[in-house]
Every structure is written in C-alpha cells, then in structure tokens.
C-alpha cells in the first residue's frame, strides 16, 4: 500500500537539489588568502613610498627591506656577528622562559592550592603584576650587571605572571563533582592534586605558557635596549640610531621568528600532554 503510494508520487516529486551560498572570499584556500593579503600590504607600502608620503630616510621601500632581510639572513647563515648576537638573545629567552615556568608554576601552586597562598601571597602578586614590569630593568642592571643575567631576569620577570595565573586558574578548573568523587574514593590531597587538579588544569597552564613564550622575548629585548650587552636588541638599537630602517625591519623579522619558535615548542608539548583537549585556533596554525 505504502509502496504504491510512493511509486505513484515519484514522477510528480520536484527536484529540490540546490546549492548553499558560500561567499567567494571563503572559498579561497588559506595559503592563497595569506599570500593575497601580503601582496596587498606590499602594494600599499610601495604606493606610500613612491608617492613620498613619508620621508625615504625613515621609510624604506619594500625592495630595500627585502635586500636587507637577505643580507641579515646571509650573515646569520655564515655564522657571522649577527648569529652570535642572536645566540645570546636565544640564551636569554630560553633561560628566562625556564625560570618563568619553574618559578611561575611553583607560585601558581602556592596561590591555587593553599588557602594561605590565596589569602596572603595573591594580593601582592596582583599588585606587582599591575606595575609596569619593564620599569624594573635599570634595577636588574644595577643588581646583575650589563651581562646576560640582567636580561634573563627581566625576561623571566615579564613572563612569569601568565604562568602563575594559568597554573592557579588550572588548579581551580576541576568541577565540583570530580572533587566530590575523589573525596568519596578516599583520595589524599596529594592524589587529588596529581590525578585530578593538575591534569584538568593543563589547558589553563598551557594558555599561560603561550603568553609567556611571547612575553619572554619582549622582556629579553627590552632588557637589551636598556641594559646594553651584545644581543640582537643591541643590533636593533644601533641600526635605529643610524637610521638604518631596512636593517631594523629585517632584524625585527628574525626576532619574531625566535618568539614563534618558543611558541611552537609550547604547542608541541601541549599536543603531547593534553591530547584529550580540544584544539584552539592558535594550535591549528601549526598543523
């Protein structure tokens, strides 16, 4: 009966196949879209240069900048003085990052897990965090000298706060039921921390690490601007004082790669450790 009905209805049924509308901009693949945007940017830049809207002394052409990027890249690849400067800055960044992570994690634990930490330590941390941290740079120089130590200290100091906040927030991330379940299972405080709170807190912790990975480069370079030394920041400062703008652009580009590198390390670690957590947009960039 039903078969007959559908059979009878078949010839009259109109086709309702239709195309959903997608904007043509959304159809462009990511690599092409990125390249397109870069081309537009360079075209505008070239236009500003050709029309002399800004003095050529402080605004080089895209071509001049590319040439200088190649110069800097060659210098880095042949292991010349720029590579030595980059290595110094890299050391500062890595040392500062490790210190920020270890100290920040410990302080985050203290603030997140203990009532004493939350009541007594947290207000001071909030206060210090509100202060402009790079203003401490001269102090670090007078305490630790013009060498690498004062830059490491500033880098760690700038980067530590996101780690503290991430760790402390992470410890509070586990939901009420999970905590109650652990208590009914007779878990000790240590077990609850290791098997419940820290794993649940990992996404927050890594959120802090990602911020820290970027900030630590800021700290190291500002340290070099204000405290001298032989790092990449010093090269930038010198190039800028000689109004060698293409060189400044080129150096900043390679410095950004350093920040991107630390960020990449954090993302790789995160994927290994918290495979169970949904990936964010920033993570996808590195796929």
């Amino acid at each position: 009966m039903t078969n007959e009905l559908t059979a009878a209805a078949k010839p009259v049924a109109p086709q309702t196949v239709w195309t959903e509308e997608v904007h043509w901009l959304d159809r462009i693949p990511r690599s092409v879209a990125m390249l397109l945007l870069l081309c537009i940017f360079i075209a505008v830049w070239q236009a500003v240069y050709s029309l002399r809207l800004i003095s050529h002394i402080i605004m080089p052409s895209p071509m001049e900048t590319v040439v200088d990027i190649i110069t800097v890249a060659t210098n880095l690849l042949t292991g010349d003085y720029m590579l030595r400067a980059l290595w110094i800055t890299t050391q500062e960044v890595l040392a500062g990052f490790v210190i920020a992570v270890v100290l920040g994690f410990s302080l985050g634990l203290l603030v997140g897990e203990t009532a004493f930490g939350e009541r007594a330590v947290l207000p001071y941390l909030v206060g210090i965090n509100a202060a402009p941290k790079v203003a401490f740079a001269p102090l670090f120089v007078s305490w630790l000298g013009f060498g690498i130590a004062s830059k490491v200290a500033l880098a760690a100091f700038v980067a530590i706060f996101p780690v503290i906040v991430g760790t402390a927030a992470g410890i509070h991330a586990a939901d009420q039921n999970s905590r109650m379940l652990f208590r009914t299972m007779g878990a000790t405080r240590w077990q609850a921390l290791i098997k419940l709170k820290l794993p649940y807190g990992m996404p927050h912790f890594f959120g802090g690490l990602k911020n820290a990975a970027v900030l630590v480069v800021v700290g190291a370079v500002v340290g070099e601007f204000l405290g001298g030394g032989k790092g990449f920041g010093e090269l930038i400062r010198m190039a800028a004082s000689m109004i060698n703008t293409p060189r400044v652009f080129a150096l900043i580009l390679f410095l950004s790669l350093l920040g991107l590198g630390t960020f990449w390390i954090v993302i790789q670690l995160q994927r290994k450790l918290i495979f169970w957590h949904k990936e964010t947009v920033a993570d996808e960039m590195f796929e």
Binding site: N177, F182, T184, M185, G186, W276
Partner: protein, 272 residues
C-alpha cells in the same frame, strides 16, 4: 499498597524479612555558620538487595543527605551505620554516581573504571583489577570499548562506564544522585532497565535520588517523598509492581495509580 505517615517505622512490608544493610537514625544537619537547618530527623533502613527511591524537589536537602550517607559530611545529630560499622568518613563499600558521568578525559574507559582502586591501593593493584574492570564493562554492554577515551562515548555509554567505576570496589550500597537525568528520555528509560538488571545480577542495595516520579516507581521497591526546609522524609509508598519491571509496565493502570499517589503526596508536602 501501603502508606505510612511520617516515617516512624520506615521499613515497609515485604522488605522486613531481609537483613538491614544501611541504617540512618535521627540524622539531622544544621549548618551553623549559615544558620540553615538542612535535615531534620531522617530515619532510613535499607535492606539487602532492595532499591529505595527518594523523590524531592531541588533544595530539599538531598545533596546533604547523600553527602552524609557517603561519609563526606558529619551529621549534627544521629547515627549512620553501614554493615554494622558507623560511617565516619569515605568508605570503599559505598559506591556513588552523579548526574554527570564525571569521567576523566585523559583516561581510557578501563583506566576510568579502575581509578578507585588506583587511588586506594596504588597503580599495581589497579593493573591487577583490569580483568575485573573488563568484565564489568562487558556486563554493561561496553565490550570492546576498554581503550576508548570518554570524548568518543555517547552520554549513555559514559554513564555506563561510571556505573562500572562505582561497582569496581564491590560496594555494599549504591548511592545514585539523579544518575540519568542528564540523558535524553529514550536513553534514560534504557539505562533504567540496565540499572535494574545490574542490581539484580549483583544483588545490590541501592538508594536513588531523582526528580522523576516514573523513574522512581519503575526502579524502586519503596519510594519516599522528601520535603524541604528542613529536609525530612515524608510519606513512603511501597511499589508492588512485579519484578523484573519492564518499560511496558509504564502504561499499566497500576503504574499510573502509583505515580498519581506519589504526585499527590508531593503536592501536599514539598512545595509549601
């Protein structure tokens, strides 16, 4: 059908022959600091292999009652005794289940199931319990899902893993805090039947708190009504539907009559 007024003798006919497993006498709870009278003279006697359902609106003090029963809170007054021993803290012979599956996403199903063993006896003991865990997963129909992470499980499957985790320590009593109320209606009916089968197979003693009168009726031997401020156990209704219960029973007149009776009790007591 038998209805007692206030629960002075909270052991209805039909259950009196079996030994008492879990007993609460005159349990009251007052939160001094907030000046809240959460529970007032609760008397409960769970006999071996019986299923006790409690119906109560939100804020009737059932979380407090469950916390006291699971040894997470001390009563202000009264005695709580499980298998002849007073409950003065969390115990392994108490199994607990919540509205949410509360599985840990970084652990596979089997690792979630043996977690209570790992917490109490260490990793070695937990590994030794993997076979028992697998058997439990098979019991709830999750054979082959041992190595699957929770984010790949449906809501009902996740709750079944939670059931296994509750059962791995072979608890004497199961405390069920609205265990299936986050599931859709169809899964919920199905899980109710699963729960009945598991309880029968293990001769488990269960205490269920729920908002759903039909769920309480289809699962329980006895249903009590809880009223708020202060929380107390009001009328108790014996469910005389034959076992095993089936979902078809929900359309029978007797089932409807029991639901109506309990709803009537709620209307009188719970929302005043």
């Amino acid at each position: 059908m038998m209805t007692t007024g206030t629960a002075q003798s909270p052991l209805p006919a039909g259950l009196s022959g079996r030994p008492v497993v879990y007993e609460l006498r005159g349990v009251s709870k007052t939160y001094k600091r907030r000046n809240v009278h959460a529970l007032e003279k609760i008397d409960l006697r769970l006999t071996e292999g019986s299923f006790w359902g409690i119906i109560g609106s939100s804020g009737c003090g059932k979380s407090t009652l469950l916390k006291i029963m699971s040894g997470l809170l001390s009563p202000s007054e009264g005695s709580v005794v499980l298998s002849g021993k007073p409950v003065t803290g969390p115990r392994r012979d108490i199994g607990m289940m919540f509205q949410q599956p509360t599985l840990f996403p970084w652990r596979t199903s089997i690792e979630n199931v043996v977690l209570p063993i790992e917490i109490r006896d260490g990793k070695e003991a937990a590994r030794a319990k993997h076979d028992a865990g697998r058997a439990l997963l098979e019991l709830v129909g999750l054979k082959g899902f041992e190595q699957v992470y929770p984010n790949e499980l449906s809501g009902g499957m996740a709750q079944r893993v939670a059931i296994c985790r509750m059962l791995i320590t072979e608890p004497t009593v199961l405390l069920l805090d609205e265990p299936f109320s986050a599931l859709d209606e169809l899964s919920r009916d199905f899980m109710d039947m699963e729960l009945q089968r598991i309880c029968k197979e293990l001769n488990a003693t269960a205490f269920l708190v729920t908002h759903s009168i039909p769920e309480a009726v289809i699962l329980s031997d006895v249903v009590s009504v809880m009223s708020p401020r202060p929380g107390r156990i009001g009328a108790t209704v014996t469910i005389d539907l034959p076992r095993p219960r089936t979902l078809d029973m929900m359309t029978e007149p007797r089932f409807g009559a029991l639901v109506r009776e309990i709803r009537g009790l709620l209307d009188k007591g719970a929302f005043l």
